[in-house]
């Protein structure tokens, strides 16, 4: 039974389902049962069936799930077919690392442009992506209407830049600055990548292991 309100816990698991099912697909696996997938992912079969049933009926009794179908259903749920346009604000080390190493297309995004203030990178191409001066942002967004912006700017300008982007109609921010952006517009979605939080979680786990 398709649910209308999907819990956050479920949402956070979907990309992981996709990753595993995608792996199976590329390894030529044709069908999989909730119990085998559970064994692979470390989840109960029950949870997998519950989770998937939030979005539709993707399986078949006595058979399990067809991997190719499941993969494309999950991709659909995740909006991977929408071909969202994405731009990167801040072509420093991290911005460049994403441009050069992260395969946006595999997640269904089209990386269109990057912006910076440093004259030595402006008007260069990084991995085929043009770097514009940040002053050209307004004109660019009006014309190209990107859906999402990656924030890889210094902390000091993060909030201001975020507001500028939201004002221009950007609908999602992928935030790599270690601050929590204050954006009131509930229609703008923000996903934080907090490196420091992640490392501190690891620190906690090591410091509080069972055997020292």
């Amino acid at each position: 039974m398709r649910k209308d309100k999907i819990s956050n816990a479920v949402i956070r698991r979907i990309p992981r389902y996709y990753r595993h099912v995608d792996d199976l697909y590329y390894n030529g696996v044709v069908r999989i049962s909730s119990s085998s997938l559970g064994r692979i992912m470390g989840l109960t079969a029950s949870q997998i069936r519950q989770d998937l049933s939030c979005f539709g009926e993707f399986g078949q009794q006595g058979y399990g799930y067809n991997v190719e179908k499941l993969r494309s259903e999950i991709a659909e749920v995740l909006g991977m077919n929408k071909q969202y346009k994405i731009i990167i604000i801040g072509a420093g080390n991290l911005g460049r690392a994403l441009i050069q190493n992260f395969y946006f297309a595999k997640s269904g995004f089209i990386l269109d442009a990057a912006f910076d203030v440093a004259s030595d990178v402006i008007n260069t191409e990084i991995n085929g992506v043009h770097v514009h001066h940040i002053d050209a942002l307004e004109d660019y967004v009006v014309e190209c209407k990107p859906d999402v912006a990656v924030l890889t700017v210094p902390r000091s300008v993060a909030q201001k830049t975020a507001e500028r982007l939201v004002g221009l109609g950007v609908r999602g921010l992928w935030n790599f600055t270690n601050i929590e952006l204050n954006i009131r517009d509930a229609n703008v979605k923000i996903e934080d990548v907090h490196f420091a939080d992640s490392l501190l979680t690891l620190s906690y786990m090591i410091a509080n292991r069972d055997t020292p």
Copy 2:
């Protein structure tokens, strides 16, 4: 009442508590009640008191929490005073971005060395961190005993490299490769930073907004 088994949900919140309390501290705030902190963080006062009480009694009736004390107590809980030694495996774009931009010391880590295979970076220094050839890893680890390794290597060598590090006695892996490492040793803690999962979550949120 100090709890022995801390739930994962609580653990994931502690770094965020630290971040906010640290902010307050640097802004000169001396004391804070659970309700004001809740307002800032978007949590209920009740939850904050429950969470903190897992680790000890840090507050005072009628007063609230002393910010400086709370900050140092949370730091202690997180193991930030242990001065764990950390090394970076893979000095490509992402590795370099972390070396140059991420302030390890602020999370209590000492960044000691980096390793790579590319001859043009070996024996250079990035932001004061020496880049060694990966062949020197064994000797280095035996001598310097790093606690944690950052994995910023290509996917193809991720599992093999992880096993090598674990074999040498590394106790934590901060994994930036988009694969799930298979390490059986329960005493080795792994923290994944899955960029793709994060971006797909954002994709989901945008695709399934209330108003399209």
